[in-house]
């Protein structure tokens, strides 16, 4: 199986976030016309969101210089962990549109 450019052997440098990106690059994703998870307006600085940085298996949440949490939706595995950890007061969460998002080939 071929790897895309930027592929980094995960065990060469375990702290390299590219390892995770490369792993997500192995999955099949179908484009969605809108992000299915959003940080609710005015909530980016909410402490509850910080939990998502730790729990998200795809590492899609990060903290910016202002101490606010940012979300990149590409690579979302639709597991629901962020919703359970942070709650629906801070996250708008629905599944991607029909046919969009991750399509597991093994599962």
């Amino acid at each position: 199986m071929g790897h895309g450019p930027g592929y980094v052997e995960a065990d060469e440098d375990m702290s390299n976030p590219l390892g995770l990106k490369a792993k997500l690059g192995l999955d099949v994703f179908k484009h969605d016309k809108e992000p299915h998870i959003t940080i609710k307006a005015g909530m980016a600085g909410d402490q509850r969101l910080k939990k998502a940085i730790i729990v998200c298996p795809a590492g899609l949440y990060s903290e910016n210089a202002q101490g606010e949490v940012e979300l990149t939706i590409d690579g979302c595995l639709e597991c629901g962990t962020c919703l359970l950890a942070c709650g629906s007061e801070v996250l708008g969460w629905q599944y991607p549109n029909g046919g969009a998002g991750v399509q597991f080939r093994f599962g």
Partner: protein
């Protein structure tokens, strides 16, 4: 656009619960529509995985001979992982290697797609790429749903839409989630040539191995690691409590936990040369009996993960049998409801009665305190360390004379330590 009630029942979700229900109802001649948001059944579904057949074999007698299962699990292993070193116990019971086999490793994208075909063959209609957006009510009863801008009406809905079950939520059947009741599983499929895999794990033919890891995997937090051999790949992953991940002593990202697990020499040698083909993650309901919502309402039933039917009792983590069984039992309730032309909550309560009669609710009743019993940090730090220490002292031959074994080992079992172990044991006896 409104549509007449051409379907007896709409099933939301083509996972194991939904497809088991669809298959069973279509077989009885009901008009069944299954709505699945993925490209194909299984495309959104993840397991660790292994499926135990005994509890559900007779519910689907015609399915198993041709089912695309991976390997029958003939070897059960538990590995206590300390920071340095590991103690592994392997069980090779004769019954594990004798037909009919107790359990199989399984890949959901393959299996669910196949099960979908079986349901279609019985006459069920599966519409993929269809996300349900709204539940339609009339006089307090569920009468259909809106999916892709279209209104679909029906007599009864089976919500088999997975652990987050927005359908059950919209129907007012469950309380808001508590993170404490859920774990997250992260998994890689690592491909290895069949011969390499069989030689490496000492497997004959289609035999497979299941190995659970406890201890350093989750850095002392609630959870563990797992490894299952498939035909030509390994399912390797970790499970961790969602709340525990953000608790002291350490906060390490879940994805990093999996990477460090893979780097453990005990694990690295098993996956060496393998190529990761897929990375997946999924939430697992683990709250059990204490976390259940309602299983039925007027015009609606809830099955599988959507109903919270998954259970962690330490050495076994199960969900798929409960999904298949609850789908089957929901189907039975709907079949009876159709005979009486009565889809009220009272009529559909038959589902709960069937669940209570079956292994499903009996298991959840029996193991209602198991999650609490397992949430003991000592199980994930103290005992793996103790096992390693005892083994090291037993096997070590120093340059000088070796100390007598009993006095050496006894230091681990002082009155204070034994008292602590007794308390842990007392707690575990609730499982």
């Amino acid at each position: 656009m409104s549509q007449a009630s051409t379907f007896d029942v709409i099933v939301v979700g083509a996972g194991l619960a939904g497809l088991a229900a669809a298959y069973t109802m279509a077989r009885e001649g009901l008009e069944v529509l299954v709505l699945e948001r993925g490209e194909y059944p299984g495309s959104k579904n993840v397991t660790g995985g292994r499926l135990y057949l005994n509890p559900i074999r007779d519910m689907f007698p015609d399915l198993w001979a041709k089912a695309p299962l991976e390997r029958h699990i003939a070897h059960e292993e538990v590995c206590l992982l300390d920071t340095e070193g590991a103690v592994t116990v392997r069980y090779d019971g004769a019954e594990l290697g004798t037909q009919p086999y107790q359990s199989y490793s399984i890949l959901r994208a393959k299996f669910d797609k196949w099960l979908g075909k079986q349901a279609e063959r019985q006459g069920a209609m599966i519409v993929t790429k269809s996300r349900v957006d709204e539940v339609l009510f009339e006089n307090g009863a569920v009468v259909g749903m809106r999916a892709g801008g279209e209104e679909l009406r029906t007599n009864v809905v089976i919500a088999a839409d997975g652990v987050l079950s927005f359908i059950a939520e919209k129907a007012g059947l469950r309380e808001p989630f508590k993170a404490h009741d859920f774990a997250v599983g992260l998994k890689e499929i690592i491909e290895l040539p069949r011969e390499t895999l069989e030689a490496r794990f000492n497997l004959q033919g289609d035999e497979g191995v299941a190995r659970l890891y406890m201890g350093d995997v989750t850095k002392g937090k609630f959870g563990g690691g797992f490894l299952y051999t498939n035909k030509e790949s390994i399912s390797l992953g970790i499970v961790a409590g969602i709340e525990a991940l953000n608790e002291a002593p350490s906060t390490i990202a879940a994805s990093q936990m999996l990477e460090e697990f893979k780097l453990r020499p005990e694990v690295a040698r098993l996956i060496a040369g393998g190529e990761t083909a897929e990375y997946s993650a999924h939430v697992i309901p683990e709250g059990g009996l204490h976390a259940f919502g309602k299983f039925f309402g007027s015009g609606i039933l809830v099955a599988g993960d959507a109903a919270g039917f998954s259970m962690n009792i330490g050495v076994t983590v199960r969900g798929m049998e409960y999904a298949l069984a609850s789908g089957y039992l929901a189907a039975q309730a709907v079949i009876r409801a159709k005979q009486k032309e009565d889809y009220s909550a009272a009529a559909l309560s038959e589902y709960e009665r069937l669940l209570k009669e079956s292994f499903v609710m009996k298991d959840f009743e029996n193991f209602k305190d198991s999650l609490h019993a397992l949430e003991n940090p000592r199980l994930f730090t103290y005992y793996p360390r103790l096992a390693g220490d005892v083994m090291r002292d037993l096997y070590e031959i120093p340059a000088g004379p070796k100390a007598r074994i009993f006095p050496t080992i006894r230091k681990y079992f002082s009155v204070g330590e034994l008292w602590g172990m007794g308390r842990d044991m007392w707690r575990l006896m609730k499982i």
